[in-house]
Amino acid sequence: MSLTTAHSVVAPSSNSKRIAGALVVGYALISIVPLLWIFATSFKTPPDSIAYPPKIVFQPSIEGYCNLFTTRTRQTPEYINSLGPATGFCDQTVRKRNMVIAGQSNFLPRFVNSLIIAFGSTFCAVFLGTLSAYGFSRFKVPLADDLLFFILSTRMMPPIAVAIPIYLMYRELGLSDTALGMILLYTAVNVSLAVWLLKGFIDEIPREYEEAAMIDGYTRLQAFWRTVLPQATTGIAATAIFCLIFAWNEYAFAALLTSGTAQTAPPFIPTIIGEGGQDWPAVAAGTTIFLVPILVFTILLRKQLLRGITFGAVRK
């Protein structure tokens, strides 16, 4: 997008500011409306969620959240009446639909799987990425450029292109449907991003810091730990967010390689639809909860994230 500035090359004119502002607001609306729709749907009752025309104003209900966390069975009214008073708000809500709570749904364990796998793989990718980026930045690595290109090339193929071989390998190795397998896989995918991003950040840290530390009696590793790492925190935080977002949202590999104990939330949430009619409020509730960790993380580290995106644009 090039916005021509007639009078100054530094300050944008008020006209171009207005256009830029309109574009930003327009884009924000396009991005935010679906999220708001999902959020609203999660508080609708199933009939409201499929009402036509769509209801903008409605009576909020947490039925979606009840359905998300439970499994239910349909019973005759006589049976439900014989049960005695409802034990909680959710119990009361489902009884209105001639159902009783049969047990916990799989959402919570799947959500926990997502947390373990996303954070675990992010940690591994950032850990390995920081060390290799430091190596590439500071040492004369033979064929460094080719190695860096090779590392980047692992990201060039769509996941689905390598999904079948990985599926077969994982089956042989007993890594199918294990958290370890998913952590390894996401680490492998993310480490390329981590190396490239962090190399840029570490390149910007003057070598004199480590050299000073090494002259003052520290080993290379101690110098790295005490002088480089503290100054690379911004870069590490930005990289961690990018890795986390990828691992958290990843669907294709998760759908193919996990089905039971290690299944993550993304492939699980759509399966809610099948349980007892098209339960859109429950799907929306799952999606809303799923969005929360990444939202919190991103808001907490938004400054680093912004720097991560614009890094290299402004030197020093």
């Binding site: 004199e208 050299e211 000073a212 090494m214 002259i215 003052d216 080993t219 503290p230």
Partner: protein, 368 residues
């Protein structure tokens, strides 16, 4: 503190030779300056002494011990970097105490030592400040503090005043020399600034293209430059050169420049016929209408007590430093009288200085 001995030191980066065959000795407690234009190999030499760069050949001895291939942390030296390399995530106190922490010193003792050092450098009021808010001179003092707190064998400084503005720089030159006089630490200081070198050094090595052109006291280097490069690099304005031809027999006392006879210090060696140059410091030129060496005033730069006068001669412009009181108009013809005892002779091809009576005095001065 210890003596530093550099023997046949050489460093090549691929085909590029950064330092060739350097030899010098920095005596215990001496303030030694390596001076030269950028890219002359002075920083590379310093980094090899520090252990940040490994030499391609030669030896480095620290206090008699061969440390050529030893790791930086095993050499017991301190280094002050051009950009100070103060850790932005630590305050002043932690920065200064950082080298002591590496030695596993008890925190109470670190505290005492850091405070002692800070007092010595008059930065004790800054100890708990963050380093990022400090002024240039104070950053410099913190960097020095980090170097002296450990009491190492020697200090290495890589253009530590390069980033300071002029006002601070003069102050720090003074402070550095004063500090050196108090603690007598063997110091190797790298700079491209001749004023810093001349005002601080006990000994100077002037480097060019990886070669030490001259090693000596500031006075020796200024008065008796060993090569035309040194003569041209040191002094502002630099030494003037006037061409003359023909060889010189041992014992010659006179040369002919632009048709004028000029008395020079007695030549102490036979010089084969070749292009030669007469080197004249600007302050060794006087205006004298009776002189056969002629020129015309080209322009003047008024400096307060003196003025620099550019004179156009048959061999280009030469500059004279004369008292400010003399009034001179551009175009005015003048005769140039030279202080005979202070003139240098060079072989133009090699740039080497010819041995003259001026050098005997030097030899006497050194031995006596």
């Amino acid at each position: 503190m210890a003596e530093i001995r550099v023997q046949n030191l050489r460093k090549a980066f691929g085909d590029f030779v950064a330092v060739q065959d350097s030899n010098f000795v920095v005596e215990d407690g001496e303030f030694f300056v390596m001076l030269g234009p950028s890219g002359c190999g002075k920083t590379t030499t310093l980094r090899m002494i520090a252990g940040l760069e490994l030499p391609t050949g030669g030896k480095i001895l620290l206090g008699g011990e061969d440390v050529t291939m030893r790791r930086a942390r095993e050499r017991d030296i301190a280094f002050v970097f051009q950009l100070f390399a103060l850790y932005p995530h630590m305050n002043v106190r932690k920065n200064i105490g950082f080298p002591l922490l590496a030695q596993g010193m008890a925190s109470a003792e670190i505290r005492t030592r850091v405070e002692e050092t800070a007092k010595l450098l008059r930065i004790d009021h800054l100890l708990d400040k963050s380093v990022s808010g400090l002024a240039g001179g104070d950053r410099q003092r913190v960097a020095l503090g980090r170097a002296i707190v450990r009491r190492p064998k020697c200090f290495l400084m890589d253009e530590p005043l390069g980033t300071l503005d002029t006002e601070f720089r003069d102050l720090m030159v003074h402070e550095l020399r004063e500090l050196h006089n108090r603690i007598h630490a063997t110091t190797v200081y790298v700079t491209h600034d001749q004023m810093e070198a001349m005002s601080m050094a006990d000994k100077i090595a002037v480097m060019n293209h990886g070669v030490i052109e001259q090693f000596g006291s500031p006075r020796e280097i200024y008065d008796r430059p060993a090569t035309m490069f040194v003569a041209d690099f040191i002094g502002s304005p630099p030494m003037n050169f006037l061409r003359f031809g023909g060889g010189l027999p041992r014992g010659a006392k006179e040369i002919v420049v632009q048709g004028a006879k000029v008395t020079v210090p007695e030549v102490r060696e036979d010089v084969a016929a070749a292009d030669m140059a007469l080197g004249i410091r600007p302050e060794h030129i006087r205006f004298d209408d009776t002189s056969k060496l002629r020129g015309a005033i080209y322009g003047t730069e008024y400096l307060g007590t003196t003025q620099i006068v550019a004179v156009e001669t048959a061999d280009g412009i030469i500059k004279a430093r004369v008292p400010a009181g003399i009034h001179l108009a551009p175009g005015e013809p003048v005769g140039l009288a030279l202080s005979s005892a202070r003139l240098s002779l060079f072989e133009k091809g090699t740039g080497r200085a010819v041995k003259t009576a001026m050098h005997d005095q030097a030899a006497e001065a050194r031995h006596g």
